[in-house]
Every structure is written in C-alpha cells, then in structure tokens.
C-alpha cells in the first residue's frame, strides 16, 4: 500500500477523524477504534479499549482460591473453557495438586469442544460482517448444538464453570459420548456446504485476499500468536510448543497458510476446526477409566505456598497465559492474564488497518479475531 502523500491537504482528501465506535453494526463486542481517514483510506487507526474493563486482577486478589474459580471463566465470554484451564493449571502448579488421567482427557475434550464453539462464533461474526447471513446462521446453529452438549456436561450453556483445580467438576453423563459424536458428525456433513457457500466463494476471496496483511516479522515483533502467526507459515501452536493436558498423547497437525492476510487466517481457522473434530474422536477412543477429580484441601483454609508461575496454553485466538503469584495466603497475591487479543487488538490492529479502506475495518478486526473483553479484563 503506497502511503498517501502529505501534499494533498485540502479538498476531499483532507483528513477526517471517524469513530468506529462501541455502538456500530460492524463492531463485535464493546470496543472502539478512532480512524483518521483521508477519503476512504485509513491513514492512522488508534484502538480505544476499556469499555469492558472490570478490574479482574483486583477482584481476584479479594477472593480465595476456590472463589476465583467461577470468576475466572468470565474474563472472555467467547471461550470460557481455556480461561478455567489456565487458572486451574496455574493453581495446580503452585499447590502441587495432581490431576487423574481421566480428568486430563475430559479436560482436553472439553477444551476442544469450546475451541470449535469459539471458532463457529468467529465464523458467524466474520461472515455476518462480509454479508453472508446464511453461513452465519449455520455457524450459530452448530454452535448452539455444542452449547447443548455443554449444558448437559456442566450445567451451564456458556459459563460452564467446569475445570477446577484438581480435575473436572463432574464426570461425563452417560450417553454423552454418542451425543457428542452425533453433533460432530452433523457439523462434519455440513463442511462441504460451508466450503461451497463461503470458503470457496469468489466474493470471500475478493474481500479477504491481500487485506490486512501481517507479515511474519511484523507478527513476531508485535507479539502475534495463534492464527496471526500460523497464517504466515510458522507452525507455532502452544499445544505443540509446550504440550499440556494430553495433547502430546494424540497425533494431530498444525494447519498453516502462507500469505498472512485475512483470507489465510480464516482458512487456518477452518482447518483448525476440522482438526479439532478429529482430535475429539481420537480423545474419546483413548479415554481411560478411573476418577476425574483429586480432592483439594478445605477451601476455607487452603493456603497455597509462596511462589509464582507462568502458565500458557493455546486458546482459539492465540497464546493465553496467566502469571499467578502467591504469598502463601488464602488469596492470590497477583494474577495477570496474557490474553491473545491484547497484542492483536492494540498493536497489530493499528498496523494492519493503516492504509486499508474503511469498509475493511470490521473485516480485518474479526479476521485477527480481536475480542474486546479479553483486552480490558
């Protein structure tokens, strides 16, 4: 993209300041971007987060270890599963709690299911922004089928509050495996329709190719992880780089693309969904018996020894980390979530939007899968 020369100050190309504000049809979540545009070219974009800031880390310092368990899954509403997993793993590292093997498997099944649900939500948001209402309807319908599975497994549709330190909260209800496989088969049968209607649709190619390009060096310099990196050909996936749970016990591969534009990111998301569906089948085949939960000490008296830990895992949008420090007391001393949308939404988005047209703002933002609650915490 050539940079518009400074000379043309007056006339239609004088610089305007527009608010792609919190209340906007193209905006998913509560986030606002201040666009300095000349004509319909964005000269400079400035992200303006903070609309969903609840001061999570301050609240966590005021609650005991088990009281934080329902709070922590509310950091990001689109994929609560990975938040619970990162908090539980951090607490287990600090307190030295072991998780039984069946518990680990159920955790990974639950994480993969919430990854698919989160990708389907992203697909709805992206296709809606590009005008494909039907594809959005399908994605949301399939996501709702997965939410019914969550409701059956954990008792809650969206906030599942399921993974807690020591394992998972309840065992699988009987018949859960068959129903999950039916839902996954139904989604699997729809993939050709998705491809034909959306992924191989020329309109999508026109709108997404070459838009919002983030090169590999740029992504690596500004903390990009997840699809942003994998779309530039780098197989950087925390489930492979730092295996957790049972991801190293099943074989699956990391889909990548080359160009690093919106198109490649969405195609990486699509391939990841298909990969997750296969992973769940493999996990169910190797599901061992036995307990799913090692009882933690009495929650009112649980003093976790002094220390700190940094845990990271692969959420649907990139590397999700948690720096957790304890001073030996009943409450966390400091918790800081490293959420994937933070660098994507603040540094990479501003770089990617520069020089693009206004109509592609929503397109680029959602292809980077920027979700507002994660940035503000």
């Amino acid at each position: 993209m050539e940079i518009i020369s400074e000379k043309k100050k007056g006339g239609s190309s004088r610089e305007l300041e527009l608010y792609f504000g919190p209340q906007h049809l193209g905006m998913i979540g509560n986030f606002s971007i201040t666009l300095n545009v000349r004509g319909d070219r964005i000269v400079r974009a400035e992200a303006n987060p903070g609309y969903l800031h609840r001061g999570f880390e301050k609240l966590m310092e005021g609650r005991s270890w088990i009281q934080n368990f329902p709070l922590v899954c509310r950091v990001n509403v689109i994929e609560p599963g990975s938040m619970e997993m990162v908090y539980s793993t951090a607490v287990e590292n600090l307190a030295g709690v072991k998780v039984p093997p069946r518990g680990k498997y159920i955790r990974c099944i639950y994480l993969e299911l919430s990854r698919i649900a989160s990708h389907l939500f992203g697909l709805w948001a992206y296709s809606k922004t590009l005008g494909f209402e039907t594809v959005g309807g399908w994605a949301m319908y399939h996501r709702d089928l997965i939410l019914d599975l969550f409701e059956e497994l954990t008792g809650g549709r969206v906030y599942n509050i399921y993974i807690w330190p020591g394992g998972v909260r309840r065992d699988l209800p009987e018949g859960f495996e068959e129903r999950t496989k039916d839902v996954l088969h139904e989604i699997g049968e729809k993939v050709p329709d998705y491809n034909q209607t959306f992924f191989e649709n020329r309109l999508f190619h026109e709108r997404a190719r070459g838009v919002g390009v983030v090169s590999r060096e740029e992504a690596m310099n500004t903390g990009g992880t997840g699809q942003v990196l994998r779309a530039t050909g780098l197989e950087y996936d925390i489930r492979k780089v730092e295996p957790y749970g049972v991801y190293d016990e099943i074989d699956w591969d990391v889909p990548t693309r080359e160009d690093g534009d919106a198109y490649s990111r969405i195609m990486v998301v699509r391939d990841e969904m298909i990969e997750s569906v296969h992973a769940i089948f493999k996990l169910f085949d190797k599901l061992p018996g036995g307990p799913v939960y090692n009882k933690i000490p009495n929650p009112f008296k649980w003093n976790i020894p002094e220390g700190e830990t940094y845990v990271r895992l692969e959420s649907s949008r990139g590397e999700l980390g948690l720096y957790l420090a304890s001073d030996g007391g009943r409450k966390p001393y400091r918790a800081h979530f490293r959420t994937p949308s933070y660098p994507h939404g603040l540094t990479i988005l501003e770089k990617a939007l520069a020089g693009e047209s206004i109509s592609d703002t929503g397109n680029i933002m959602i292809s980077l899968y920027v979700t507002a609650p994660e940035i503000d915490r």
């Binding site: 301050k58 780089v241 940094y310």
Partner: protein, 165 residues
Amino acid sequence: MSSIEEKITANFDGIEVRKIEEGRIEVKTKKEALLSTLNFLKDEGYGHLGLVSCVDRIEEGIFELVYILSRYLVGGEVAVDQASLIVKTEVPRGNPTLVTSVKVFETAEPYERELHEMFGIVFSGHPRLTPLFLERDIDLPPMRKDFDTRKYVEEEFESIPPVED
C-alpha cells in the same frame, strides 16, 4: 551450546538466575541493566515478549516488574520445549520511574500504558503514555495494594441515591 543461564551470568554481573519450575527460569536484574539485558536476550533468540506485568510488593516498598520472554524460533525451526525466561527488576514505590522497553520490544507499548494507568509507573521515553481503560480519574492507581476497591465502591457508587418517582 551452553545453556542460557551460563550465557547470562557470563555476560552480566550483579544478575541472579534461578530455575523456579519446570520450563521457567527467573532472571533478576537491576533497573539500570534492564534494557541491555532485554537486548542481549532478544539477540539470543528470545524474541517473543509474552507479558509485561507488575507485582506490588507493598511490604518491601517496591514494584516488581516482570517481563516474560519466550522463543519463537530455534535455528529457523519452531522452538519446541524451550524454557521461558521471567525477567524481573525492582522499582521503588516512592517514585516508580523506568526507561521504556518499546525500543527493544514493540509489543511492550500497550502493556506499559496499562501499568502506567494501573500502578502509576512512569516509563520515560514511551510514545503515548495516555490512559487506556479508565474513564474516571481515580486519585490512587487502582491496582496498588493500598487501594481498597470495596471501600471505593461504598463511597462512590452506593452514596448515589436511587431515583424516587
């Protein structure tokens, strides 16, 4: 090739390196030596700054800044099973000023803005140290330990009367 610990201790004095858990190595440096340490580590391949955080050690009267570095690539290939570094430095609570590390890691720019707003740490040389999240200007930065959020809610919000018809 020698492990990263020896390399660090070889090149810097007055630095403590300690393995705190599986895959995590803690590197404690002085405030002044921070930028050179980060530069050195970046050249060593630790190009991924995951997080810039701050722990308010109120008893010792210091802010403990935490930089978490991991590796993207090892010799061109994706870095598998590589330990991450937790680089720590201390800043007195009295006047918490520190040189910005945006020149070394561009990722640090929003994190430092947040720490400025939440703890009141001034990063000299930062391109735009403007508020990021908060709408109301609270006199005491909210993430400090001496800021009591429940008392703040009691005074500020509960005191506003409900609307009688």
